[in-house]
Structure formats: structure tokens, C-alpha cells
Amino acid sequence: MATNIRTANDTDTVLRTEGLNVYYGNFLAVSNVWLDVPRNQAVAFIGPSGCGKSTILRCYNRLNDLIETFRAEGNVIYQGHNLYAPNVDPVEVRRRIGMVFQRPNPFPKSIYDNIAWGAKINGFKGNMDQLVESSLKKAALWDEVKDKLRQNGLSLSGGQQQRLCIARAIAVQPDVILMDEPCSALDPISTLRVEELIHQLKEQYTIIIVTHNMQQASRVADKTAFFNVQTSEKGGRTGYLVEYDRTEKIFQDPQQESTKEYISGKFG
């Protein structure tokens, strides 16, 4: 099987997507995605609404499992395991592959507990205060909240909440961080801060970010994948990967006509 051949040269590929098909019930939502995510780089997924970029993103930490009708075919290889193999524990996957969501969703707990909870449930034995501090510092939030760690996380502004969510994701020391349009609910200044953060986080983590904002993709991503959607004869809309390359290449010299049209704003 392909799995065995490829684990050998996996040194700089973190996630390998092999012929991934995603179904909701009988409806094929995304078809045949092949895509390798390199270590310590940021990869952006762009494309029009409904093209399946978020769906693919959520395949990487098996968050789609929460949707009852969801079914995946093909392989997502991570550390030599197919994430969708029956013997893989989705809870362990999500602990290693963290996620930041579109809308900031801190727990209705204190700022401190927002970060400590994930560590606690994952059996963190070290110094919790230190972990909270270092996570908040990495998320560039420490200076703003260090005097009010006992306050509820929901009392922060939207941009701060999103950075808190990033700190929460970092605190469990994941390998990969998935970001599903992390800035779409934020103002431009908060967006800028999150983007700066992504640049710093890349040094330690691998980041996959879904974005509707092409400037954002060009600013933060090393590689960019463009997804599009096609309507089948039966009227179902199926997403597919059009093109995946270095970000400069995608934005300056796309090989596919539809990529060119999308990035020049002709549709989407």
C-alpha cells in the first residue's frame, strides 16, 4: 500500500492527503483531493463558498466525525497512520492537530482555565502557571490579560478572544494548527495581529489556514491550494482541488484558467 512506501521519506511532509473523497450521506461534497502539507510552513486553502475547503480542513482533525452523515474515503496520512483507519483514536488526533475556529469560541471559564483545561484533560503534569503564561505569550495576549487571568474569557474583545483560542490550541502543544477563517469575525487591526502571530507560530508548528481573503493568503501562506466547485448533472455541488503550489506561483503565474479568474476577482 501507498502508506508503507511513503512513510520512509516523510521527514518534511506532515500531512499527506491521498485521493480524499468526502460524502455527506450519498452526496459527494469534495472529490479526490491529493495534497501534501510541508512541516513548519503555512498552507492556505482558498476558493469560493461551498468548494469544500473547510470540509477538507476538518478532515485533518476528524472534526467532521461530529456530523452524523459524514463519511470519508481515501487516506490522510499523519505520522505514518491513516487518520481514518479504524484503530485511530480521533481524540488523540485532535490533541495533536489543534484547531482555531471561524468565530472565537472561548469556554465560558476564566482566561486561565480556558488554557489550563485542555492541558489538564490531556494529562499535563508540568507547571500550569508557566504553561498558561507561555501560551498566552506565544499568542501575543499575555500583556493584555496578565492582570485579569481570573476574568471570564468571554469578557475579552473579539480579537482578544480569538488570540485566547489560539493560546488554548497552543497549550496542548500540538503538531499542526488548523485555522478555519480565523479572522473573518475580526476587525483589520486584530486581523493583522493574528497574521503576525501566524508568521511566528510557523517556526514551531505547521499551520493550515482556510481564508476567503486572498490578500491574507498571500501575506501568510508559503503554499496555497485553490479549490473550486463544480455542479454535477444531478445538481449536486462537488468541490475539488484545482491547483496547489507555492503562494507566489499561485498568485503570479497560476497554471489553471479558473485559478487565474478567481485570484483576479472574476468570480467567487
Binding site: R94, R95, F107
Partner: protein, 309 residues
């Protein structure tokens, strides 16, 4: 142009434009005013009923209430003692507590199963069954408890009519209220929050126990309090499960298997009695019961005032 605004002559749009100036005699306006009046009247009737019941109970109850009603036992119909119904207050507390001890854990866990773990058809049937259960007349719940608890205790020779039987009957009435309010409040907890928890590597149980449930606690407390308030006022199911007693209830295991007094049954027994002394106690007991339910509801309000997520 102004002339266009009041132009009611036919035009091609299919509408006739009325005047911008409000005319009280237009059919539409009149219908609106009449319906507003009817709705107001019906609202007033509802409020009036509540006010009438409460004020009469306050009026009659305050006349008969005194500190001794909380501390003394029911009096003989004739004789010097005025007496009270301390045993019935305590008995109501005991039986409501027993009911709460049974129904709150079962109800909350059932609701957790419904929202967090079950899917599709099974959940629909359980919800449907819960709704039916909440519509079951309380006397039927009493008959059921009589069959399940009272007759069984009798067979075993441990007792018959008892606080345990009464509490069990009340728990059947409380269960659907708790399941429903908990179920609804859990469904209101945002899925973003569940995903956030799952996203940091929480198991389903950790997600529910540490994130979803705390967010729903205020609503669950309200549900439980409403259930307690409803149970405290129930008479029918207690009539043939706990019966009545003119002695103090006891918190020993044997005591809980003895017939036990309750406020509601006391009101029922004494209000239909021919003795003035008992009738006056029934009024006082009604007042105490109403106040207990009222206080419980107010507590529930305060519990939910805490910000919901």
C-alpha cells in the same frame, strides 16, 4: 409628490395606496384596535384570577397564621389546643427531597443522553414519551406509585403508606419537567463550544461534563426548581401513597416508611372538615404552601439571572 401618496385611484401595480394620515375608522385600523383590546382583556382576566386567588389566600391565611403553626402538631378538632402543622411542612420537604433525589439525577442524565449521545429516531421517541409523561394526570402517577412502592412495601412487611411512596410519586411528576428543561437548555448550548472542547482533544464525556453542562446549569436549576414547586403542591398522588399522619415525620429509615403528613393533603383533609379550627389551619397551610412555591420560583429566577452562555 403629495398627490401620489393619497392617490387611491386604480393603478397598474395592483395595490390601492391609502393616505399617509392615520384614519381611525379604516377597517384595518379598527380591526387592529379591537384585537388589541381583546388581547388586553384576556391578559387582564389571567392577571385578575391570579390576583384574586393570591389575595384571598393572603387575607384568610394571614388571619390564621401564627408562629405556632410551624412548630406544633395538628390539634384535635375539639379541645383547648390551637395546634399547627409543623409535621406537614417537614413532611412536604422530606417527600419533595426524596422526589428530587430520584428525579434530578435521572432527568439530567436522560437529557444528556438525548442531546449529546442519542440520534434520530430513538431520541424522538424518548422526547415524545417524556411529553406524554408530563401530561399524565397526577392521580395516575399516584396509582402507579401505590402499585410499585406501597404494595411492595406491604408485601415485604416493611410498611405501606410512606414518605418513600409519596416521594416516588412526586418524582414521576418531576421527571418530565426536568428532562424537558435540561434537554432544551443543553440544545441551546452553542455547538461552537462543543467543537472547541473536542478540538483541544477532549473526549465526549469531558466535553459534556466540563463545558456543556456548566453552561447549561442555570437553566437546569430553573427546571429543577419548577419541578420542586409543582411537586410541593401536588395532593392527589400523596393521598394514597403517603396518606397522612398527625405525628412528626422521622428521618430514620423506619420513619421514612411510615405514613407522612404533607401540606397539600392537610389542606385537602382540613378544608373539607366541618371544624372551624381545622378550616382555619387549612387556610394557613394554603398560605404557607403558596409562599413556599413563590419563594422557590424567585430563587429559580435569581439562579438564571446569572449570565447564560
Amino acid at each position: 409628490m403629495p398627490s401620489n401618496l393619497s392617490d387611491s385611484s386604480g393603478n397598474s401595480s395592483g395595490y390601492t395606496m391609502g393616505s399617509l394620515v392615520r384614519s381611525p375608522s379604516a377597517p384595518r385600523t379598527m380591526f387592529n384596535s379591537i384585537m388589541t383590546g381583546v388581547a388586553f382583556f384576556c391578559g387582564a382576566v389571567a392577571i385578575f384570577t391570579l390576583a384574586a386567588v393570591l389575595s384571598y389566600i393572603l387575607y384568610r391565611g394571614f388571619g390564621s397564621i401564627s408562629p405556632r403553626v410551624f412548630t406544633e402538631l395538628p390539634p384535635l378538632p375539639f379541645g383547648p389546643s390551637q395546634g399547627g402543622f409543623g409535621n406537614a411542612i417537614l413532611g412536604t420537604f422530606i417527600m419533595v427531597l426524596i422526589g428530587a433525589f430520584i428525579s434530578i439525577p435521572v432527568g439530567v442524565l436522560a437529557a444528556i443522553y438525548l442531546t449529546e449521545f442519542s440520534s434520530g429516531n430513538l431520541a424522538r421517541w424518548i422526547r415524545f414519551a417524556t411529553n406524554i409523561l408530563s401530561g399524565v394526570p397526577s392521580i395516575i402517577a399516584g396509582v402507579f406509585a401505590y402499585g410499585v412502592v406501597v404494595l411492595t412495601l406491604n408485601k415485604l412487611g416493611w410498611g405501606s403508606y410512606s414518605a418513600v411512596g409519596g416521594g416516588f410519586a412526586l418524582s414521576i411528576l418531576m421527571l418530565p419537567i426536568i428532562v424537558r428543561t435540561t434537554d432544551e437548555s443543553l440544545q441551546l448550548v452553542s455547538n461552537d463550544l462543543r467543537q472547541a472542547a473536542v478540538g483541544v482533544g477532549a473526549t465526549k464525556f469531558q466535553t459534556v461534563a466540563s463545558v456543556v453542562l456548566p453552561a447549561a446549569v442555570p437553566a437546569i436549576v430553573t427546571g429543577a426548581t419548577l419541578a420542586v414547586a409543582r411537586a410541593a403542591g401536588e395532593t392527589a398522588p400523596l393521598l394514597f401513597t403517603a396518606l397522612f399522619s398527625s405525628g412528626w415525620p422521622s428521618l430514620t429509615p423506619q420513619g421514612l416508611l411510615q405514613p407522612t403528613a404533607s401540606l397539600a393533603v392537610l389542606v385537602y383533609n382540613y378544608a373539607i372538615s366541618p371544624y372551624e379550627k381545622w378550616k382555619s389551619l387549612a387556610w394557613a397551610a394554603s398560605l404557607v404552601l403558596v409562599l413556599m412555591v413563590l419563594i422557590a420560583s424567585i430563587i429559580a429566577r435569581f439562579a438564571t439571572r446569572r449570565k447564560a452562555y
